[in-house]
């Protein structure tokens, strides 16, 4: 049985539902020696800001049980550099590119969205209102439905490309934030970003991260991510969902799809296994066969509750 893994989301075709997650795959070509980005559903870029950003002091990562904390702090060389240096090879490689972006304040968000809107080959924009690692431009927009909605509206006004909003799990009511984003014009919702966490080196009595707070990712967070995808899907907001959080196998990806995700993103797993996304795609295809699904799209949201 051949299985059709392609998905269309807001007019954009993804060859498979398995994309790289922002910040865990660079700008898509760093691993070209082991993985052709055109074989992925798409490449979600490292977060892009209008101006270059330095990021947080080291140490920036530490491992935890079945997960890791990172406090990279959205280090990136800015949108212009992205357009000039990174997009030409990505276009040449035939990758489907989703540009993840953020700003220090609403104006920066808007100017970044406007700049990305003009870049040829950027298939969609992923608005990061959820990074727990930076004082500004980060999580506070994602935890307050009103602020989140305003930010989405403002960016919506400057781009005709599909606009995805990426949500933070560090909230009491994920559905309220999701609804605000959709009402403000988000075309899709990506969930989840990392859980806020810390680690302590008991010998030095200091935080294990230079920035103290970091974002928890990896298999550890999968049950929480899956719960949020299910809750938002069940709320019937009418937009497709992109599931993220701890995916390391095709079975994990399928769990998200059954819970309601149309696409998934793979983050931390790429660090353990640079070719993880290809294996996950193969395993997902195999699962579709086992479940008798000719199109992966037929499985979206088919969890029996």
């Amino acid at each position: 049985m051949t299985v059709d893994l392609a998905m269309e989301l807001c007019g954009v075709r993804f060859a498979t539902p398995v994309l790289s997650a922002s910040g865990t795959f660079g700008y898509g070509l760093e691993t070209a020696a082991v993985l052709d980005p055109a074989d992925l559903g798409g490449v979600v870029t490292k977060g892009i800001s209008p101006l270059p950003r330095k990021g947080n002091p080291p140490p920036r990562i530490c491992e935890t049980a079945a997960g890791m904390l990172n406090s990279i702090g959205l280090e990136n060389p800015g949108v212009e550099w992205f357009a000039d240096e990174k997009m030409p090879p990505l276009r040449a490689a035939g990758a489907t590119v989703v540009a993840n972006f953020f700003g220090d304040d609403p104006d920066e968000y808007v100017s970044c969205a406007a700049a990305l809107d003009k870049i040829d080959g950027v298939a969609a924009l992923e608005l990061n209102i959820s990074c727990p690692n930076v004082a500004h431009g980060g999580m506070q927009y994602g935890t307050d439905p009103r602020l989140a909605g305003r930010l989405v509206s403002a960016c919506r006004a400057v781009t005709t490309k599909p606009l995805w909003a990426k949500l933070t799990p560090n909230v009491t009511d994920i559905v309220a934030v999701a609804r605000a984003c959709v009402e403000a014009g988000a075309d899709a919702l990506s969930l989840i970003n990392t859980l806020s966490g810390i680690g302590i080196n008991v010998r030095t009595r200091r935080p294990r991260l230079g920035n103290l707070f970091g974002g928890l990712s990896g298999p550890a967070i999968k049950p929480v991510a899956l719960r949020m995808v299910h809750q938002v899907y069940a709320a019937g907001l009418g937009v497709p969902l992109v599931g993220i959080g701890g995916i390391t196998t095709g079975e994990d990806a399928l769990e998200f799809i059954l819970a309601g995700a149309s696409l998934v993103q793979v983050g931390t797993a790429t660090f353990s296994e640079p070719t993880a996304m290809l294996r996950i795609t193969d395993e997902l295809r195999q699962w579709c066969r086992e479940l008798g699904a000719e199109r992966v799209g037929d499985l979206v949201g088919t969890l029996k509750v």
Binding site: T24, K54, P58, I61, G67, I72, A220, E273
Partner: protein, 261 residues
């Protein structure tokens, strides 16, 4: 970074030898996709064993030596990941990503290389010495707390390398630290460079010695790493003029002035 010769392969543990001082030597048979002849001294590989999600991340190890289709690494046990890797039996499967990172500069005719290392910081220096073309002037300076820490001396001897060692307790070689050995050697009249690998305090001491003498100095750094290939930005070290360098792709070998230690 040029990643063109980087491969991600599965590998088999061919041998696991106890070297004492919590160090083990692992010989790995890598698939032909990883071209072992392309490995340069100072480069490293990311290694992960067949366990589930804890630890999840692979661990970086310098390449100690290569043979056709084989890699050797020296593993010093310091935490959970190295405990598991050091405990792998012959026949166990691991994954290997590499070769990675910027190597040491190759020997230059007419310039003597002084290689200063200690403990688990010796592998890349050993490989540099081993690969130096005949006639190169290369001196290995090897320090430890006591004789048992100098786990590679038999290999040095077998390879007929030129080396000096020292221990803090005087149980082997001269009594003192590797920086003492180095200081003595720096009086050498001709052109020379220092290549160092070891704990950060030692690297600092080496770098300032070299600066004082006006001798070029290269150091190999260790930081925590998630990806090893420049995509996570987790391995940053500060550049003296601001901004960061990635240990995994800009390094692990840096010229001393390139990074703030």
């Amino acid at each position: 970074m040029s990643t063109t010769n980087v491969a991600f392969v599965s590998a088999q543990v061919l041998a696991n030898e106890d070297l004492g001082a919590d160090c083990r030597l692992l010989r790995l048979a890598v698939e032909p996709e990883l071209d072992t002849s392309a490995v340069r001294p100072g480069q490293f590989v990311m290694v992960r064993g067949p366990w589930a999600h804890h630890p999840m991340l692979p661990r970086p190890f310098s390449v100690l030596d290569t043979a056709d289709g084989q890699l050797e690494i020296l593993v010093k046990v310091v935490g959970r990941g190295t405990t598991l890797i050091a405990g792998l039996h012959r026949g166990a499967s691991v994954t290997v990503l590499g070769p990675l990172g910027r190597p040491f500069p190759p020997p230059t005719p007419g310039v003597r290389d002084l290689l200063a290392g200690g403990g688990a910081g010796i592998p890349p220096l050993y490989l540099h010495a081993l690969r130096a073309p005949a006639g190169s002037a290369v001196e290995l300076l090897y320090g430890g707390r006591s004789a048992a820490d100098l786990v590679l001396v038999d290999r040095f001897a077998a390879a007929r390398l030129s080396w000096h060692c020292c221990t803090e307790d005087g149980s082997a070689g001269s009594k003192g630290r590797v920086t003492d050995l180095l200081e003595a050697q720096l009086d050498f009249p001709g052109d020379q460079r220092v290549l160092a690998c070891g704990p950060t305090p030692m690297l600092k001491a080496v770098a300032s010695l070299c600066e004082a003498r006006g001798v070029a100095c290269w150091i190999s750094l260790e930081t925590e790493m998630a990806c090893g290939i420049g995509i996570c930005r987790g391995c940053s070290v500060a550049h003296p003029e601001g901004g960061w360098r990635c240990t995994c792709t800009d390094g692990p070998v840096f010229e001393a002035g390139e990074v703030v230690l």
